[in-house]
């Protein structure tokens, strides 16, 4: 296996969180679809009350299926969509109207590196763009060189004058990362940074992100649908379902001892060559998640296996599941879940 790049000591990651999201709500207005049988006009509650903290030098994975709101949350953190409720705080200060300063410190890496680069701009121009916008003092060419080198494109001179279509997928993503690094950000929000890249190339990009965390203490928020990826890079994992975080905690805890039935269901379907019984395990039933029709009470209860097979009733929380929206609360310190069953059981309970 390749060399590991471990997280800094837990004690170093103490102190106030660098980025803090508090009860965030992002709603998209209902669209009127003319040619469908059921014209939907209900608004889509993409992010429906999310609170999350990211510490300095931490790698947090935001995991979930499509429609769960993870990308919307990432874009809200970047300031691309406006939340109608809730706050986002950076270094303790809420985001103001002018995001210019904020944009130097929080940068994004995109899912599609080809689309994210202007095809008419050279690599040099794409990386220098941020420097020019913020009028960063210093020799522009030197700063660009340094950013490219940090992003693993060496020697930088070889790449300066190339155009995006002359680069491979992995190289393009490195250019996007270099463009972000040029501004020396504190936080990188990576939206599915490797899902469009070839499998054998993903490792290098992920290793680059881990290296940036180790060397420069940059915090990384990785949005991904791939729990196995979260296993291999994240310190903490937050699992989202229908606009809420339903479970969050240290990677090992969440992925090996999940407390929320949804997390368990997701883990059950991750393809694993060593897991011969995977194809026979029961799957989640019910409608796939739709942010325009979020169920009442616990949003997962219509599909919850623990409710269906009686475990919830056994624990006496069945009524609660159908009537109260569970809050994200610690089951053990640091490992939070939004599930009545998880709350009822003391520490040490795991969803089998």
């Amino acid at each position: 296996m390749t060399a590991t790049l471990p997280a800094p000591d837990r004690s170093e990651v103490s102190g106030p969180p660098l980025l803090r999201v508090d009860d965030l709500h992002v709603t998209f207005a209902g669209r009127h679809r003319v040619f469908e049988r059921h014209a939907r006009q209900a608004p889509a509650r993409a992010v429906d009350g999310v609170s999350l903290e990211i510490g300095e030098g931490e790698v947090v994975a935001l995991a979930g299926e499509s429609g769960c709101g993870k990308t919307t949350l990432a874009r809200a953190i970047m300031g691309f969509v406006r939340p109608e409720r809730g706050t986002i705080e950076f270094r303790g200060e809420p985001l103001g109207k002018d995001l210019r300063g904020y944009r130097r410190e929080v940068q994004m890496v995109y899912q599609d590196p080809t689309g994210a680069l202007n095809p008419r701009q050279t690599v040099y121009d794409s990386v220098a763009e941020g420097l020019r916008i913020h009028k960063v003092p210093g020799d522009e060419a030197e700063l660009v060189d340094r950013a490219l080198a940090r992003a693993g494109l060496r020697p930088p001179g070889r790449f300066l004058l190339r155009f995006p279509h002359e680069l491979s997928g992995g190289q393009r993503q490195r250019v996007v990362i270099a463009g972000a690094l040029a501004l020396e950000p504190r936080v990188i929000v990576a939206d599915e940074p490797v899902s469009n890249l070839d499998a054998s190339v993903r490792g290098e990009i992920l290793r680059l992100l881990l290296q940036l965390r180790r060397d420069a203490r940059i915090s990384i928020l990785i949005v991904t649908h791939d729990l196995a990826l979260a296993w291999s890079v994240a310190d903490r994992v937050a699992v989202m379902y229908l606009g809420r975080i339903v479970e969050v905690g240290p990677t090992r805890d969440v992925l090996l001892e999940p407390r929320h039935p949804y997390t368990r269901a997701l883990l059950d379907v991750v393809p694993d060559a060593q897991d011969a019984g995977a194809l026979d395990r029961p799957l989640l039933t019910g409608e796939p998640p739709d942010p325009t029709r979020i169920p009442e009470a616990c949003r997962f209860h219509p599909r919850c296996p623990a409710l269906a097979d009686g475990r919830a009733a056994e624990a006496g929380v069945e009524e609660a599941c159908r009537s109260d929206d569970p809050r994200l609360e610690p089951t053990v310190p640091e490992h939070l879940a939004a599930c009545h069953l998880a709350h009822r059981r003391p520490a040490g309970f795991r969803v089998p």
Binding site: D112, A116, I133, G179
Partner: protein, 305 residues
């Protein structure tokens, strides 16, 4: 490391971008060459533009002076007067050569006005969206539904007849079409990931428009402008024909107006109507052919980008 960047600087980013531009211009020309329509249109335009530019050399401006005309009156084409003469004895050829300057100039200027206003409105509406878009588009729609020619007539009648007024009138009544086309392009470019990335880097709207949106809209604006020139020349001819043109300048439309006023059809002086008319048709046709050829070439690339 420093050595590398020094070597790279020797071939600076600027020079590479220009080298690439020359290369893609060369490729563009190679593609354009293959379009028969485009080449035919371009050839005709080159001829007319040369004629217009070289007018003082080709034909003395004295020939336009009614008082100095020495030719026979209303005579058909002959060796001395290849396009015949008008009712004052002026050579129709002279009128056409000098008229080309006016018609082309007005057409180009009016199209420029239309393009600048239309592109500006289209970009801001398409890119900003929201209330800006709604307001600007209502404003555009208002101009769109106004009947162009009657409006032009009224404006010209009120504001007077001069080249400047004609240019403004045509420009201001034809920009909505450009605005709509530019807006729809801007709407699509706005969604592109690299525009969002630039925004994420901290760019503000004006920077985004200048650096990312405008360069991508340029092909569409350019092709559209060529077609607008055709429309503008036609409009100018129409306005001059009904007598609203600048009375002091001899455009093709004005020549037609004089011809009709003198009763040329009845007299049978076909050369006085036919040649100016043919020129208008040819030039408009040439611009349209070029514009269409351009759109054909530029459109697939637009979809790729």
């Amino acid at each position: 490391m420093a050595g590398d960047s020094l070597a790279a600087k020797a071939r600076s980013p600027r020079s590479v971008v220009w080298a690439r531009r020359r290369l893609s211009a060369g490729r563009f020309w190679a593609t354009y060459r293959r379009s028969v329509m485009g080449i035919a249109g371009l050839a005709i335009l080159v001829v007319f533009v040369l004629v217009a530019l070289l007018a003082p050399v080709l034909v003395s401006s004295d020939q336009l002076d009614v008082t100095k005309a020495t030719g026979p009156i209303l005579e058909g084409p002959s060796l001395a007067y290849p396009m015949g003469t008008d009712d004052a004895g002026r050579s129709v050829l002279a009128l056409i050569v000098w008229g080309s300057r006016v018609s082309l100039a007005i057409g180009l200027l009016a199209a420029a006005v239309s393009m600048v206003v239309g592109a500006a409105v289209g970009i801001v509406a398409g890119f900003r969206g929201g209330r800006w878009d709604a307001a600007l588009m209502r404003f555009t729609d208002w101009f769109l539904v106004l009947p162009g020619l009657p409006l032009a007539i009224v404006l010209a009648a009120i504001l007077g007849q001069s080249m400047f007024i004609i240019v403004m009138v045509i420009g201001l009544t034809s920009w909505p079409w450009t605005a709509r086309i530019v807006r729809s392009q801007a709407l699509s470019v706005r969604e592109r990931a690299y525009v969002e990335r630039a925004r994420g880097l901290g760019a503000r709207d004006p920077q985004l428009i200048l650096k990312h949106v405008l360069p991508n809209l340029f092909p569409v604006i350019f092709a559209n402008t060529i077609l607008s020139i055709a429309a503008a020349i036609l409009a100018e001819s129409a306005l001059s024909f009904i007598g609203l043109g600048d009375p002091l300048r001899v455009s093709w439309g004005a020549t037609l107006e004089l011809a009709f006023a003198a009763g040329a059809p009845t007299i049978g002086a076909w050369w006085w109507i036919g040649f100016p008319g043919a020129c208008i048709v040819l030039v408009v046709l040439a611009f349209t052919m070029c514009g269409n050829a351009l759109e054909e070439i530029l459109n697939p690339r637009l979809r790729q980008r």
